[in-house]
Amino acid sequence: AHQRNESAGSDDDLNRESIDALEIFDLIRTIKDPEHPNTLEQLKVTELKGISVDDEHNTIQVMFTPTIPHCSMSTLIGLSIRLKILRSVPDRFKVDVKITPGTHDQEQGVNKQLNDKERVAAALENSHLVSVLENCLYGFE
C-alpha cells in the first residue's frame, strides 16, 4: 500500500485508471492528526465535500480545515495529505492541497508552501520529517 501503483503513469490509455473524489477521500480519511489520537475524518479536518477530482483533466484538489485557526500543525497535515496522494495516484495527476478558505490565520502562507514543488521536494528529503509523516499516514491502517 506504500508504493505507487505499478500500472499508474502509463501513457497507454487502455491502462488508464479513473479516479474519483470518494477514492481520494478513502485514501486520506485514515490519516492520523499529528497531535490527536484521532483521524482527520474524525476531527472533520477532511471531508468528502472538500475534495474535487477532474479525471479528464488530471487534477485533484483537496481542501482541509484546521481544527483551530492558529493551528501550528497545518503545514504538516497538508504535507501528510499530499504525500499520501502522491504515493497512491497515477503521476498524470496535478494535486493542489489547500486550506478551506477562511479557516486559518496563515491561510495564504500555508497554501503557498504546500504547493511549492521545490519546498515540498526538499521537505520530503528530510528523513525525520518523513518518519513523522509516515506515522500519521499509516498509524491507523
Partner: protein, 312 residues
C-alpha cells in the same frame, strides 16, 4: 513553426530539475532528485544526430542536485544542491570530470547557480534568503566576494546581466532584485532595484540575447539595453525594460505581461538569440513566443504572440 521532439534523454532515476547547454552546443548537463549530474553529448553522422550519456557524476551530493551551469569557456560545471553545497567540476581534454571544489556557506538548500559573462564570478542562491557572489582567483580558487541579503524569503534563481557584473535574483517573496558592486569597489554590493509585479513566487529569469553580443561596447553601441523576462507561480510572464538616460537613473518598467498561456505555475523561461521566448510550466506545456512585427525593443506594451505550443 511547430515544435517537434528530436530526442529524449533517458537515464535519470528521479525528477530532472535543470538542464544547461554547453557553450559549444554539443553537450547538455542535467541534474536530478537522484543526486547525480549527467552529461549528454551529441554525435553527428550522415545527417543524423544522436545523444549519448558520456558522464554520470555521483557521490558528491547527499541530496537533490537542483541546478547546473557551464562556465562561459565550457571548462567548468557548477552544481548546486539541496545539501547546501555547490560542487565545481573541471572537464579535461579527454572529457573526464573531476570535482575541484566544494563551496560551503549557505545554510540550507541551494537553488540556483550562474556564471557571469567572463566566468570570473559565480552567483549562488538558497532557501536561506541570501545570494552569494564567489570570485574565482587567477590560481583557480573560489572566495566569497559578497553576501547579498534583502529578499524576505527563499531566493529561487539567479542570472547575470549578459554584459555587466550586475546580478538579478528571483524570489519566493514575489520580487526580483538587482545587485551591483558599489562605486569604488571594495567588494561592497548593494541592492539597486526591486522589480515588483508578480503576484506570487518568481521562479526564473532570462535576459534578451543577441546573435553577437560579446563585449559591453558591442552592447552599448548596437544593442541598447537587453530586456529581462521573468516567469512566476502566478502563471504569467513579465517582460521588463530598463529606461532612462544614465545607468544610475535607469528604471525597470513592465513592458509586457503574457497572461493566459499557462494554466499552472511557470517554472522556467529562456530567450533565444533569434528573439523567441520559451516558457515551461506545471501544466506540462512549453510555449514559444515571438515578437510581433519581428522588431526588437518595441514600445511599452509591445506585442508578443504565441508562436507554438508543445504539450505532454
Amino acid at each position: 513553426m511547430p515544435l517537434r521532439e528530436l530526442c529524449s534523454l533517458r537515464g535519470h532515476e528521479d525528477r530532472v530539475w535543470c538542464a544547461d547547454w554547453h557553450p559549444h552546443g554539443d553537450m547538455i548537463a542535467s541534474c536530478s532528485g537522484d543526486r547525480t549530474v549527467r552529461v549528454w553529448r551529441r554525435f553527428d553522422s550522415a545527417g543524423d544526430s544522436s545523444w549519448v550519456l558520456v558522464a554520470t557524476l555521483s557521490g558528491d551530493h547527499q541530496r537533490t542536485v537542483r541546478s547546473v551551469a557551464w562556465s562561459p569557456d565550457g571548462q567548468l560545471l557548477a552544481c548546486g544542491s539541496f545539501d547546501a553545497t555547490v560542487t565545481i567540476y573541471a572537464r579535461d581534454e579527454e572529457g573526464r570530470f573531476t570535482a575541484l571544489h566544494t563551496l560551503e556557506g549557505h545554510e540550507n538548500e541551494v537553488k540556483g547557480v550562474a556564471w557571469d559573462n567572463e566566468g570570473r564570478l559565480l552567483a549562488t542562491c538558497s532557501r536561506d534568503k541570501s545570494a552569494w557572489v564567489w570570485e574565482r582567483s587567477p590560481d583557480g580558487e573560489f572566495e566569497m566576494a559578497a553576501l547579498l541579503h534583502g529578499h524576505q524569503q527563499d531566493v529561487k534563481h539567479v542570472v547575470w546581466h549578459p554584459l555587466k557584473q550586475v546580478l538579478y535574483t528571483a524570489s519566493y517573496d514575489d520580487t526580483i532584485r538587482e545587485w551591483r558592486e558599489e562605486d569604488g569597489g571594495a567588494d561592497e554590493w548593494a541592492c539597486t532595484a526591486i522589480l515588483a509585479g508578480h503576484a506570487s513566487t518568481v521562479w526564473a529569469l532570462a535576459f534578451e540575447k543577441f546573435p553577437t553580443m560579446e563585449t559591453e561596447e558591442d552592447g552599448a553601441r548596437d544593442r541598447g539595453n537587453p530586456r529581462l523576462v521573468s516567469c512566476s507561480d502566478d502563471t504569467t510572464l513579465i517582460i521588463w525594460q530598463a529606461r532612462g538616460d544614465s545607468e544610475r537613473a535607469r528604471k525597470w518598467q513592465q513592458a509586457c505581461t503574457l497572461t493566459g498561456y499557462h494554466s499552472r505555475a511557470v517554472y522556467s523561461v529562456d530567450w533565444s538569440p533569434a528573439n523567441c521566448i520559451a516558457s515551461a510550466g506545471g501544466d506540462d506545456r512549453i510555449n514559444v513566443f515571438v515578437e510581433e512585427g519581428g522588431a526588437r525593443g518595441g514600445e511599452p506594451g509591445g506585442a508578443w504572440a504565441r508562436g507554438c505550443t508543445a504539450e505532454k
